[in-house]
């Protein structure tokens, strides 16, 4: 329909021009109105037709209206309105019912959303989505047990809040087992209390080491600890290993409902950092199950560490690429009944949890919990669908951050940014001095070696802060005067 209309100017060229009596008068009115509009400098019609209600259909003639149609729509001249206030009467072709012709555009006085209505619409949407899930989604969802190792550090709030919000959106019953290295801390407890989830906050009495290699090992032991807790309390559900810095799709939690005993998922590895001089984009490395054409598990895609060998990060927060292990825990899910001492139909290819991890045995991935890895079920369309991404982004282990990320009391010293558009910028002198100082600091680190850089830059930072303080206090002194 809209297409037909858009073509009307072209089609009018095809139309035979027909004259009818009474038309001679109207061009004169047309010319008069054109002159009037040109004199007035605006088009009458906009005033008349916006914000008016539709006219009641009078039964007078329709000649004027037909006249409007026969002329090609004037592009430059203003369109001729009738010299009276009401819009031109539509033709009385339909005696009752809808009338053809120009109607007003009805706009209410305050055409903005009403907050109560928006809230009600969201309620409707939530209810409809719940119904959709009931009809098409997972039937009889099993509870989910999420195991997360964590520890209090700078970026913990960032990662844990992200994971927390993802878990709050999961529509299935969920229990979150958070294992914290270094014991239960107030920061972590405060973060966890913000969620309305069932959280089991487990202390683990060892400090998180600074080397990545040791850290991966400790996390594995922390996860084992959580698994032992699950076993002792006979918690029922599907165990998902969600690391606090990973990113999860909500479809993940629907997909894991399909697992019978142990499942494997594809994990996208976001370890790739910008490599200079590299053209094009190499595909995202993915760890996960590898299947043959008939969908059976035949092997594993693991992470190729060779390209990163020289640039791998050794310490937490040292700025280099953090590499995952060969197979990350996050890519596996298991039925908690695998861990129970006594469970019906428990398969024979799983080791008893009490025998795992003793005598210094290194557990690298959940496959070490099994005697035979061939019965693992590939999930996510046999690993083709990536439902979570592995990521490690950490600040330096000794970096400071305000407790609870709350600035209390609020800051009093305000230093302007390098390029500020605000007219209340500090006078140029102090500004330039600060800028020069920052330039100094930035130039240096590239020349230093990595181990000594950290000490240098922190010293420089302290110097700069002292310098800035001096400058700013000078300013205040000047202003006071």
């Amino acid at each position: 329909m809209k297409q037909t209309a858009a073509q009307q100017p072209n089609r009018q060229a095809f139309t035979a021009f027909r004259s009818s009596p009474g038309v001679l008068f109207w061009p004169a009115v047309h010319v008069l109105c054109c002159l009037l509009s040109a004199a007035a400098g605006f088009r009458f019609s906009r005033l008349l037709f916006l914000l008016l209600f539709s006219p009641s259909p009078p039964s007078s003639s329709s000649l004027h209206h037909r006249h409007l149609l026969r002329q090609p729509p004037p592009a430059i001249l203003p369109s001729p309105p009738p010299p009276h206030i009401h819009p031109p009467p539509p033709p009385a072709a339909a005696s009752n019912g809808v009338v053809v012709g120009r109607h007003g555009i009805r706009v209410r006085p305050w055409p903005h959303p009403n907050a109560a209505e928006v809230a009600r619409a969201h309620e409707i949407l939530a209810r409809l989505q719940q119904e959709q899930r009931r009809r098409y989604g997972v039937k009889d969802p099993r509870p989910v047990l999420v195991v997360t190792p964590t520890y209090a550090r700078t970026f913990q709030a960032l990662h844990l809040t992200g994971l927390l919000h993802s878990l709050m959106l999961v529509p299935h019953p969920l229990t979150w087992l958070v294992v914290e290295a270094g014991g239960v801390s107030n920061e972590t407890a405060a973060l966890l209390a913000r969620s309305r989830l069932a959280v089991v906050h487990l202390p683990f009495h060892e400090q998180m080491p600074v080397r990545w290699h040791d850290r991966h090992r400790l996390e594995a032991r922390m996860r084992l600890h959580a698994l032992r807790v699950i076993r002792e309390n006979q918690l029922d559900g599907i165990i998902v290993f969600a690391d606090d810095s990973n990113v999860h799709r909500l479809e993940l939690f629907d997909e894991v409902q399909k697992v019978e005993w142990m499942g494997a998922l594809s994990v996208g590895i976001l370890a790739h950092s910008q490599r200079e001089g590299e053209k094009g984009q190499s595909p995202l490395p993915i760890q996960g199950p590898a299947c043959n054409a008939s969908g059976h598990l035949i092997g594993w895609h693991t992470f190729n560490t060779l390209p990163y060998a020289k640039k791998a990060a050794a310490f937490v927060g040292d700025g280099a690429t953090v590499l995952p292990m060969k197979l990350e825990w996050a890519g596996f899910v298991m039925n908690s009944r695998l861990l129970w001492r006594e469970a019906e139909e428990k398969p024979g290819w799983v080791r008893d949890l009490d025998e795992v991890g003793i005598n210094g045995e290194e557990i690298e991935s959940p496959l070490d919990l099994l005697k035979d890895a061939s019965s693992v079920e590939p999930l996510g369309n046999c690993g083709k669908k990536v439902l979570l991404w592995w990521l490690r982004a950490e600040a330096r282990s000794d970096s400071k951050f305000p407790a609870g990320w709350v600035m209390d009391p609020p800051l009093e010293i305000i230093v302007p940014a390098k390029r500020t558009p605000w007219p209340e910028a500090l006078p140029d002198l102090a500004f330039q001095v600060i800028a020069d100082d920052e330039d100094h600091v930035e130039v240096h680190p590239s020349k230093k070696t990595r181990s000594s850089r950290s000490k240098r830059s922190s010293r420089k930072k302290k110097k700069r802060e002292a310098h800035v303080d001096a400058q700013v206090s000078d300013l205040f002194n000047r202003q006071e005067k």
Binding site: K2, S45, S54
Partner: protein, 383 residues
């Protein structure tokens, strides 16, 4: 509770009626299509597909004496501009020429003066054969079709271009294309109201108020800042997918009250919000539109958000359940090849429901009702 939207939809017309298809010279159908194959894909393609369907349908009879209905395959909507829009200027002459042909070569037209004949006229205002409403009203329905049954997409109560006994059909929407854009049904519907299309037709009605009787402009002015309304003039490639993620889809009138949006909304499970006063929707005697869609008067458009958010949740759920009924979706489509319950079958059902013909259908000897010289002079020229 499975929504039952009228078991009439599942009636099988085979055995209930017989249709005789006139063999017209190919200049009325095949040659026109050969000249411009675009006619198979636009929203007026129902006239062509109905012809093809009838040619191989079990209701077809080669014996005109036993036929209940007579079909004339003339493609009046296939004279397209370079942009693909149908020009209706030759259509009255084409139709008249076809009727002259069948009335001289077969006795069945004169027997009833067309009262047991049906024609498919899917153009903007049906058999008024014009795209501008005033002109269409001025012309009125082609006089020679006064007694025939018209199968058309246009339907508006108390309108010259809708005669009693017409069968309203949905416009053609490509079933294959819609099928390929289906998304999983558990994708949550998160858009509250969805609409893509023009609000102002700047080329033909720059000030607004004329196009769509100002209703579309009113929707834009009132709700362009409302986060619940995902409305714009975009042409996104994800149009079909977006409709499946929306709860309500607006179906306002344009230059004519009908549009393929209704078909798309029904197929994709989005509740149609029909804003067109006095509109008659397709197959209204078989499909309970009141229970499936929401009808909003044009004067109530400024209150559209209040109206939609105050619908009780059970009513919305019920509408969605009814829409999910596959026979409803099937009745809106013209699949190739035809399938049971589709729009072709609904048309036949409609024709079957009009049987048996009244006695006044058959003219007494010497009785003449049609005036073969009525109508504008230009229509009388041969085609």
């Amino acid at each position: 509770m499975v929504g039952s939207a009228g078991d009439v939809l599942e009636d099988d017309p085979v055995g209930r009626l017989k249709v005789f298809v006139y063999e017209l010279p190919s200049k009325y159908n095949k040659k026109i299509l050969q000249k411009d194959p675009r006619c198979l894909n636009h929203m007026f393609a129902a006239e062509i597909y109905m012809h093809w369907f009838l040619l191989s349908s079990p209701v077809r009879t080669f014996n005109p004496e036993e036929a209940d209905w007579f079909y004339t395959p003339v493609y009046t909507t296939c004279d397209l501009t370079p942009n693909g829009l149908p020009l209706p200027f030759k259509s009255p002459r084409m139709m008249r020429s076809a009727i002259e042909l069948i009335s001289t070569n077969w006795p069945y037209w004169n027997r009833t003066e067309g009262a047991d004949h049906f024609f498919v006229v899917p153009h903007d205002f049906g058999a008024c054969f014009h795209y501008q409403e005033e002109k269409a009203i001025e012309r009125g329905i082609l006089h020679l079709l006064k007694r025939a049954t018209l199968v058309q997409t246009f339907g508006q109560r108390n309108h010259v271009c809708l005669k009693d006994g017409s069968i309203i059909i949905p416009p053609y929407a490509p079933p294959q294309k819609m099928q390929t854009h289906l998304i999983p049904p558990d994708t949550p519907r998160s858009i509250f109201v969805y609409f893509r299309g023009l609000f102002y037709d700047v080329g033909n009605d720059p000030e607004g108020g004329y196009y769509a009787r100002g209703a579309r402009a009113s929707v834009w002015e009132n709700f362009k800042n409302n986060p619940l309304f995902d409305i714009s003039t975009d042409h996104p490639t994800t149009y079909y997918e977006d409709m499946q993620r929306a709860v309500f889809c607006l179906c306002p009138l344009g230059w004519a009250p009908w549009s393929p949006r209704l078909v798309e909304a029904v197929v994709f499970g989005c509740i149609p919000v029909v804003i067109a006063d006095d509109i008659v929707l397709p197959f209204a005697d078989a499909i309970p539109w009141e229970e499936i869609g929401v009808f909003v008067a044009e004067e109530d458009v400024p209150k559209l958000d209040t109206i939609l958010t105050s619908i009780p949740i059970e009513v919305i759920l019920r509408k969605q359940r009814l829409l999910a009924n596959p026979s409803m979706k099937q009745a809106m489509l013209f699949p190739q090849p035809a399938q049971p319950g589709d729009a072709f079958h609904q048309i036949l059902n409609g024709l079957a429901r009009k049987l048996p013909h009244d006695n006044n259908v058959y003219l007494k000897s010497g009785q003449k009702i049609l005036n073969w010289t009525a109508g504008p002079v230009g229509d009388l020229k041969p085609w």
